[in-house]
């Protein structure tokens, strides 16, 4: 044996998982929503998505370079952030505003806190909220969607979102197919559910957070006297529950932590929708729960195998 052997601690086998593969799966799962956005709002959506993705990747590259750290754009997480942010914006937003959002997401929220895995809130959501409070009129200017009911139109270039429209304006079918005003990625429920199913099958996300989130939101709607199905299909609930609340870094890793987190998201979403000045509450509720994640995890350390709290019929 002429050459030296490699010596290291076990295990000597590694699985085929990789961060890049996971991010690629999320991108694949978001593709139907992106395509639907192009169909519903026209090719302008594609331009907006391209701007956001390109800006995010570029900013990630530059900020890592300035901080003299290894480049991480290869893990595709910046692409996911850019894509998610774009899907959370109205179609006719000024590209400069969108790029400012990317700056908030990548530089301020993600890289300044240490890069991937270290951000304490979801970058795309934080950016959306910063834009929402900085540019409220631009962020709430909803262009009419393809095939939206005439009653929803406010004027030639504006339509109402399902959450502010009068009751009866939109049917469930309109909401499922995205024939309504809103952010480019949130309007079409069917494609979001499709993406969610893909992520669950690929084991990228556990179904706990989306399911509990939606169930809690439905229950809360009933309690406060709203139509549960309408609430789930309208606004950003599906996009939030499937793609935002399940963000690894900003959601609990423990099973019961996920449940508590999702219950909180669902609860605050409906409370904000019903009792706050804003029509929508998804972003704020997820952001609030993001901040609580360390506490939730601390409270839900799982019982390890063999940890017995005195009882159990041992002598069976």
């Amino acid at each position: 044996m002429e050459q030296k052997l490699h010596v290291s601690s076990s295990p000597h086998f590694k699985g085929n998982n990789s961060t890049r593969r996971i991010m690629l799966d999320v991108i694949i799962a978001l593709c139907p929503a992106a395509i639907a956005a192009c169909v519903i709002f026209g090719l302008r959506s594609l331009v907006l998505i391209a701007i956001c993705v390109a800006t995010c990747v570029l900013l990630e590259y530059v900020s890592r370079k300035i901080m003299k750290r290894d480049a991480t754009i290869g893990d595709l997480s910046a692409v996911v952030t850019g894509l998610l942010l774009a899907l959370n914006l109205p179609v006719d937003i000024n590209p400069l505003i969108a790029m400012f959002g990317c700056l908030i997401a990548i530089v301020v929220v993600k890289q300044m806190f240490g890069g991937i895995g270290m951000n304490f809130v979801n970058p795309a959501l934080a950016a959306r909220i910063v834009l929402l409070v900085s540019f409220p009129s631009a962020m709430m200017h909803w262009a009419p969607a393809l095939g939206a009911p005439a009653a929803a139109a406010i004027d030639a270039t504006t339509s109402a979102t399902p959450l502010v429209a009068e009751a009866g304006t939109y049917s469930y079918i309109d909401l499922l197919l995205g024939r309504c005003g809103g952010s480019i990625g949130e309007v079409c429920a069917v494609v979001l559910i499709l993406g969610g199913i893909y992520l669950v099958i690929r084991k990228v996300i556990s179904p706990i957070i989306p399911c509990v989130y939606l169930a809690t939101a439905a229950l809360m709607s009933l309690i406060v006297g709203l139509d549960p199905l309408y609430q789930l299909l309208s606004g950003g609930v599906l996009l939030g529950a499937i793609f935002m609340a399940t963000d690894y870094t900003t959601s609990p890793v423990t099973k019961w932590g996920k449940v508590i987190f999702a219950v909180g998201c669902g609860f605050f979403t409906i409370m904000l929708r019903q009792f706050s000045n804003m029509p929508e509450g998804v972003s704020f509720s997820i952001l609030l729960m993001n901040i609580l994640v360390p506490l939730i995890e601390r409270a839900t350390v799982p019982r390890t195998l063999g940890y017995i709290k005195k009882k159990k019929g041992e002598q069976k």
């Binding site: 044996m1 002429e2 050459q3 052997l5 490699h6 010596v7 290291s8 601690s9 076990s10 295990p11 000597h12 086998f13 590694k14 699985g15 998982n17 990789s18 961060t19 593969r21 996971i22 991480t72 893990d75 997480s77 240490g114 890069g115 991937i116 895995g117 270290m118 556990s206 690894y248 870094t249 890793v253 423990t254 099973k255 350390v301 799982p302 019982r303 390890t304 195998l305 063999g306 940890y307 017995i308 159990k312 041992e314 002598q315 069976k316």
Partner: protein, 456 residues
């Protein structure tokens, strides 16, 4: 006491990973290695006190002659595996890097059996324990715990179930599988001996369902007239790593959980490796102590993978040359399986009692990736069979955070490596947790020392 029942299907266990099985040698008859010219028998081939040499340089020894022993309770004597002359007693480096005295015996090729060898007279449990101790048997599954100590169950523990471990969940390894196919009667007669002397009326053979031929062979004998009370049953369990880990196997076979920090006997179970139980049967018949064993030689760099029966102490290089040598320069040489085995610095080490495989892995198989940032995906939690939080443990270990290590139960980690296997960021989780466990033990020792110092 309630009637013991046999589970129809295994109890649910959490976690684990689907490592590639690579059981290339399962259908190949084991081959016997010719007597090597030189063997080296280290004084530590078991968990417990090291043995002291009982022979001097220049002595002539016979096969099966005891050449080293210890009075300590947790220990196992060592026997000459070849006949010949003691060449030297010198320090050798063990796979874990420690230096241990070893007796080198130059073989005369005669394989003369020691005249002292005769089947032991066993009429009671204490006879059995003495006999097993004299045989030098240690757990052949890899841990190397002296079997006599295991059989010596403290009187305050009630053990009602004997579990035979045939999970063999590590990739590549098939030595237990071949043991069953080639020596199935030894397995069953060993089981009957142990269960009768220990007065156990439930024996569950836990075997991964990727060995249908072995399941069939064992069932045929277990269902025959040798087991009239039907107290021995074969339970196929799912083929995921690490089903063969003692605590996981107990959970799968009985639904019981071994308490944190406890032993299998705390859950009323005795777990024995199939190779060890078959050896007991053979020893009672022939009186030949543990001087050889079957091990799997495999891996992407091995020309002709096969199970080999080798004398204990054979140089690893000789075993590999015997099966055709290396196909290509190996990247890693591993003693044991790819998930928990120890990687060796060179092939000039020697086969130990508890050594169940030698693997020469190529760079492609044993790929090493630089770790990237943790994305908190939680896959390590899903994979951990002990339901720990590997990411938190590894972080606590990196910070040197003793409280954090305690909070997340670091000592309950059995180092199976599922977390590192599954981590998409390729983080060295179990490796860091090992460091954390060492930190905890150090802190404990320091605390003990400090409290003693305070009293003075």
């Amino acid at each position: 006491m309630a009637e013991l029942s046999f589970p129809k299907r295994p109890y649910r266990t959490k976690g684990g990973v689907h490592a590639p099985h690579n059981k290339n040698t399962a259908h190949k008859e084991s081959v016997v290695l010719p007597v090597p010219a030189l063997v080296a028998l280290p004084m530590t081939q078991h968990i417990g006190a090291p043995c002291k040499p009982m022979v001097k340089v220049g002595d002539t020894v016979d096969v099966g002659q005891q050449i080293a022993g210890s009075d300590a309770f947790v220990s196992a004597p060592i026997h000459a595996s070849v006949s010949g002359k003691v060449k030297k007693i010198d320090k050798i480096t063990m796979p874990d890097g420690s230096k241990v005295d070893a007796i080198f015996i130059e073989s005369d090729g005669e394989q003369r059996l020691s005249p002292d060898i005769k089947p032991p007279q066993v009429d009671s449990l204490s006879d059995l324990i003495t006999a097993v101790r004299d045989s030098g048997l240690v757990g052949l599954g890899g841990a190397g715990f002296p079997t006599a100590v295991k059989l010596n169950i403290p009187s305050d523990k009630h053990v009602d179930t004997l579990i035979i471990n045939v999970a063999e969940c590590e990739p590549y390894i098939t030595s237990d599988h071949r043991e069953i196919l080639e020596n199935s009667w030894d397995v069953i007669s060993g089981i009957i001996t142990v269960k009768e002397f220990l007065n156990i009326h439930r024996v569950i053979i836990g075997i991964e369902n990727n060995k249908p031929d072995a399941i069939k062979a064992l069932r045929e004998i277990a269902d025959s007239s040798v087991d009239p009370e039907d107290e021995i049953r074969v339970l196929p369990i799912k083929a995921t790593y690490p089903q063969g880990a003692e605590k996981i196997l107990i959970k799968a076979c009985t639904g019981r959980e071994v308490p944190v920090g406890g032993l299998p006997s705390d859950a009323g179970c005795l777990v024995m490796n199939v190779g060890s139980i078959a050896f007991i049967a053979r020893y009672l018949k022939t009186g030949i102590p543990l001087i050889s064993r079957r091990l799997t030689v495999d891996g992407g760099c091995i020309e002709n993978p096969v199970n080999v029966i080798v004398p204990i102490g054979t140089p690893i290089k000789e075993v590999i040359d015997f099966v055709g040598g290396y196909k290509e320069q190996p990247y890693k040489l591993i003693m044991g399986g790819p998930m928990m085995g120890i990687s060796l610095p060179n092939d000039e080490l020697y086969v130990l009692k508890q050594n169940n495989a030698i693997l020469a892995l190529s760079e492609k198989e044993a790929k090493f990736n630089e770790p990237s940032a943790c994305i908190r995906c939680g896959k390590c939690l899903d994979a951990c069979p002990m339901r720990l939080q590997p990411l938190e443990l590894a972080n606590a270990a990196n910070r040197g955070d003793i409280d954090g290590l305690k909070l997340y139960n670091a000592m309950n980690c059995m180092e199976c490596g599922c977390c590192s296997f599954t981590c998409p960021a390729k983080r060295h989780l179990v490796q860091n947790i090992r460091v954390g466990k060492a930190l905890l033990q150090k802190a404990k020792r320091e605390a003990v020392a400090a409290s003693k110092g305070g009293k003075k």
